[in-house]
């Protein structure tokens, strides 16, 4: 599987939804003003600029995917960024990993959270996702819910929970980038499109690309594994089994975080892999752990 065409499915009724980033009931304008000067290439280029400002995090992003990376080497680089290192320590000791404060060295913290997670946290730092003031409202509540849902459901889909967690955490990166570069326009767009599919279509119309695809491009650019990139690109392709986990996680997170969310049957989103009766315990787990993970990710 792969970078498939990002196709819309207008005939599919409510194929999926995503957390709405504006409050329900906001005024929905009939048409959106065109984005006069939106430059996608500029957005992508801005990531490089951000990376230059956080060289340690950028270095981690580039080395952590190598098969011969060791925890010692990663910890050594990480030690140069005190804020990021302390976040990794905090996450390693969080309830999510169950280590109960036993993680006292950075190297062991890297071992516990795993290289992909360290890399994800570095990516968060590079792209300023750790600055909530620059993000859409409820951004982290949504992304940690998606992440925990994906991680919890991963074994059913034959995926590694940790990779699924990272995918979930980074999936909304594109949303943040669009919001960052076109705050007003993006807010209007989100308000105008209550369903996720509709919003993605609107994103393509306004920016030439939808937010998850943008995430996929960014992650691919940084050399993240295809297994993380591909589901983002294929999120709307219901025939694509590899994106089923991400769709299920997005739907589950929306049920938790969006007040008037209209549920989409899980069977349809996952080609029958996940039944509705298996969802409630997973939702309980996600609800219980999301805030702790958010605090750990943000180093609070």
């Amino acid at each position: 599987m792969t970078g498939r065409a990002v196709t819309q499915h207008p005939m599919t009724p409510r194929p999926m939804t995503l957390a709405r980033l504006t409050s329900p009931g906001a005024a929905v304008p009939a048409t959106l003003a065109p984005a006069p000067t939106f430059d996608l290439e500029g957005v992508l280029a801005s990531i490089d600029t951000m990376a230059a400002q956080k060289p340690v995090a950028a270095q981690i992003v580039s080395v952590a995917n190598s098969d011969d990376t060791s925890a010692a080497a990663l910890a050594q680089i990480l030690a140069a960024d005190v804020a990021l290192a302390s976040r990794v320590m905090k996450l390693a000791n969080s309830a999510y990993f169950g280590m109960r404060g036993r993680v006292t060295s950075l190297q062991f913290a890297v071992t516990v959270v795993g290289f992909t997670t360290v890399r994800t946290m570095a990516t968060v730092a590079v792209t300023d996702l750790d600055d909530e003031s620059r993000l859409p409202a409820d951004f982290w509540r949504t992304s940690t819910s998606v992440a925990l849902a994906a991680s919890t459901l991963a074994p059913r889909f034959g995926e590694r929970p940790q990779d699924a967690l990272c995918l979930g955490l980074l999936a909304p990166l594109g949303v943040a980038l669009l919001h960052h570069n076109d705050q007003e326009g993006y807010a209007e767009l989100s308000a105008a499109e209550p369903t996720a599919t509709g919003r993605r279509a609107a994103e393509v119309r306004r920016y030439g690309i939808h937010a998850y695809r943008l995430t996929a491009v960014a992650l691919e650019q940084w050399g993240f594994a295809r297994s993380m990139v591909a589901p983002l690109a294929a999120v709307d392709d219901l025939s694509d089994g590899d994106a089923g986990l991400l769709r299920a996680a997005l739907e589950l997170a929306a049920r938790l975080t969006v007040a008037d969310h209209q549920a989409v049957p899980m069977e349809r989103l996952t080609r029958g892999l996940l039944r509705e009766d298996a969802v409630p315990p997973v939702m309980d787990r996600v609800r219980a752990e999301a805030e702790e993970l958010r605090l750990a990710m943000l180093g609070q």
């Binding site: 098969d67 999510y96 990993f97 169950g98 280590m99 959270v113």
Partner: protein, 687 residues
């Protein structure tokens, strides 16, 4: 992150440029294309041999192909994500070949310095050998998954920290939960809270490399607990991090079995009470020298032997079980009731003073006194109870148990059904006795027990025909200790065997020495006293050995046994005596007339001589000749000789001779003497 595009070095010679271009153009392993903006559309404008082979297009067709047709998944404006102006891009994409098939490739796109032209290099995403390797790896993983899934061994798999990525069915059944409830950190809730820290410690060690194991209780969904050993092995996934494989052994049943064995080792099977071993551990565990408040109550059932003998052992056992139940329900919570052995029980109380311990003892006495119906008979059990409360004088736990044992014997001696608290004097006496036993043992070992010999005279001619060996113990501090004291002590403390052997051997040695010194003038026979406790199968071989060792004829020895010793077990005594008699050793009954012996038995005993007790001899002076006369007459009628003991005066000697006594022994005739003096005495008599 990708490196920014670097302009080509401007000073490369045209020859090199054309050489490289030629090599690239004809290569069938490199796949190269060049795209340009033509009329607002990105189109392929050049490709090499490798590109035509991979894509199947004719050179001309390819040269006008829009880039969007080559990468159909990049819709709308997305082509520009690939054709970036400022930097190179890398994307995994399917490219469409001439036949319409999609081929997965990695597209590496480098813009020219002008920003209007791009070089696209296509690298097939996977080659055959990579696919084969991946298939092998996948097959391995499936086999492993199948193995663990079907394995009856509960198995956990963590890929990160304590978070589980996988649990097998066996683990789910063990804890009674579904996999979804256990994955992530869910399984930690099944570990008993008190054991969780230990498990995490092990995981910390294992994540750092190496193996480890932890014993942990797992709490099942229904609230029951299983005790398990979790064995952890380090698991490292390159590029991912460290986790562990945990296998679980449920040792609940094994522990229960071991606990049963341990219980059996420490408990009495009949009553279920702790046994002597556990009692010792219990007291030792609570005893601190100088402490107080620890009390031991020693109970011995009175007349238990009667129940056993009259109603049978089953009834005896039934009684013991009933007593155990009563004791258990009578003592205070926390008190220990142990079966010490036989019909003896010990109760251990903590935090009590003497009065409290006595109250417990009284309560026990009352509870035991209720009748028990055994074999249709109502039995009222009574116990003698000895009580000891820890004092400063107790230096070890076992002293406490020993003291209550002593107290119990005191209670028993004072009459049955009593409670006695061990007082200071009794404790001192008991300790003194213990010390004396130790000293007696040493005295026997060092042969500090010496023998004196008292001559025995014939009434017919006043000649000295024999001697009686008399043991003496001259204690270094206490002076002479009476034989009545130390023989009794030896009998109580198991030293009578060694003491008896000493006397037998020394007597024989002395006889042999006299023979060598005096020849015919030496004493012809020596009388040796034997305790009732020596009357067993060992006596005969011991006598034979002593005689042989000193080359003596059996007739040189006479064995004296008290009347009471003979009456304890007449049948076995008779068997031993018969053996000795057959050997040729003479046999005498000592202290005759004091033991209420059955005359019928006497007739059947293979003895040669009766010794008239000194008390009857003493009566002669007061005109009471009846008993001495009767004993002497009896002996005569049975064909036995008589020796009258304790002859103090010449008158007594004359009277006894007149009554028909064969032999005399006493202070007035000759005092006990050392071996050496005896030799001199006999030598003088011979002259």
């Amino acid at each position: 992150m990708s490196a920014p595009t670097v302009p080509a070095e401007p000073l490369v010679s045209p020859d090199i440029v054309s050489s490289i271009f030629y090599g690239a153009a004809v290569s069938d392993t490199l796949v190269l294309l060049v795209a340009e903006m033509v009329g607002g559309t990105a189109r392929i404008t050049w490709c090499n041999e490798g590109a035509t082979q991979l894509l199947g297009y004719g050179l001309e067709d390819l040269r006008t192909l829009p880039v969007s047709a080559l990468v159909p998944t990049l819709r709308g404006g997305e082509v520009k994500l690939l054709l970036r102006r400022e930097r190179s891009a890398r994307m995994n994409l399917p490219v469409r070949t001439a036949s319409g098939a999609l081929v997965e490739v990695v597209v590496l796109c480098t813009p020219s310095p002008s920003g209007r032209m791009w070089t696209l290099r296509l690298v097939p995403a996977t080659n055959d050998s990579e696919r084969a390797l991946r298939a092998t790896a996948d097959a391995h993983e499936r086999r492993f998954a199948t193995l663990t899934e079907r394995s009856p061994v509960p198995t956990l798999l963590s890929e990160q920290g304590m978070r589980l990525a996988h649990v097998n069915d066996a683990f789910c059944s063990l804890v009674g939960l579904q996999a979804e409830q256990l994955l992530g950190t869910g399984w930690m809730a099944t570990v008993h809270p008190e054991d969780l820290d230990g498990v995490i410690e092990q995981v910390v060690a294992v994540l750092g490399g190496g193996d480890g194991e932890a014993t942990a209780r797992l709490v099942r969904e229904d609230g029951t607990e299983r005790t398990t050993v979790i064995r952890f092995a380090h698991l490292f996934t390159p590029g991912v991090g460290a986790g562990f494989v945990g296998t679980i052994e449920d040792i609940t049943d094994r522990l229960a079995f071991e606990a049963r064995l341990a219980h059996q080792a420490n408990h009495d099977p009949l009553t279920g009470l702790p046994n002597r071993t556990l009692l010792a551990e219990h007291v030792a565990g609570r005893f601190t020298p100088g402490g107080s408040g620890l009390a031991c109550l020693f109970l011995d059932l009175d007349n238990f032997k009667v129940v056993n003998d009259s109603l049978g052992h089953a009834a005896g056992d039934e009684l013991l079980v009933e007593i155990a139940d009563r004791l258990r329900s009578t003592v205070r919570p926390g008190d220990l009731v142990a079966r010490f052995g036989g019909d003896e029980f010990v109760v251990v109380c903590e935090g009590v003073e003497e009065a409290d311990a006595v109250t417990v003892a009284e309560r026990i006495g009352a509870a035991l006194a209720e009748p028990v119906r055994l074999g249709g008979v109502d039995v009222r059990p009574h116990a003698s109870v000895g009580v000891t409360v820890q004092t400063d004088e107790h230096t070890a736990a076992e002293e406490l148990i020993r003291d209550c044992d002593i107290a119990m014997y005191q209670a028993k001696a004072g009459g049955k059904g009593r409670i006695t608290v061990l007082d200071q004097q009794a404790r001192a006496e008991a300790r003194d006795k213990l010390r004396l036993v130790a000293e007696l043992r040493t005295a026997i070992e060092r042969r500090d027990i010496t023998l004196l010999y008292q001559p025995i005279f014939s009434t017919a001619d006043r000649s000295s025909v024999a001697v009686e060996s008399l043991a003496r113990w001259e204690h270094a501090e206490r002076g002479a200790i009476s034989p009545a004291t130390f023989v009794a002590l030896a009998e109580e403390s198991g030293l009578i065997g060694p003491l008896g052997l000493l006397v037998l051997d020394e007597t024989c040695r002395q006889l042999a020495e006299w023979d060598a010194e005096l020849g015919a003038a030496a004493p012809q026979r020596a009388n040796v006293n034997v305790s009732a406790l020596q009357l067993d199968g060992n006596l005969h071989p011991q006598v034979v050995a002593a005689l042989a060792r000193h080359r003596l004829h059996p007739s040189r020895l006479s064995i004296e046994i008290t009347e009471s010793a003979l009456m304890k077990d007449p049948a076995s005594a008779r068997a031993v005596l018969t053996q000795l008699r057959d050997l040729g050793v003479q046999l005498a009954i000592d202290d005759f007339g004091t033991g209420y012996s059955s005359l019928a038995h006497l007739r059947h005993l293979p003895v040669d001589c009766l010794k008239v007790d000194r008390s009857f001899v003493a009566e002669l002076g007061q005109g009471h000749t009846e008993i001495a006369s009767a004993v002497i007459a009896l002996a005569e009628n049975l064909g036995l000789t008589t020796v009258a003991e304790g002859v103090e005066t010449a008158e007594q000697a004359e009277q006894l001779a007149a009554l028909g006594a064969g032999f005399l022994q006493g202070f007035s005739l000759a005092q006990p003497m050392t071996g050496e003096r005896t030799a001199a005495w006999f030598a003088a008599r011979a002259r």
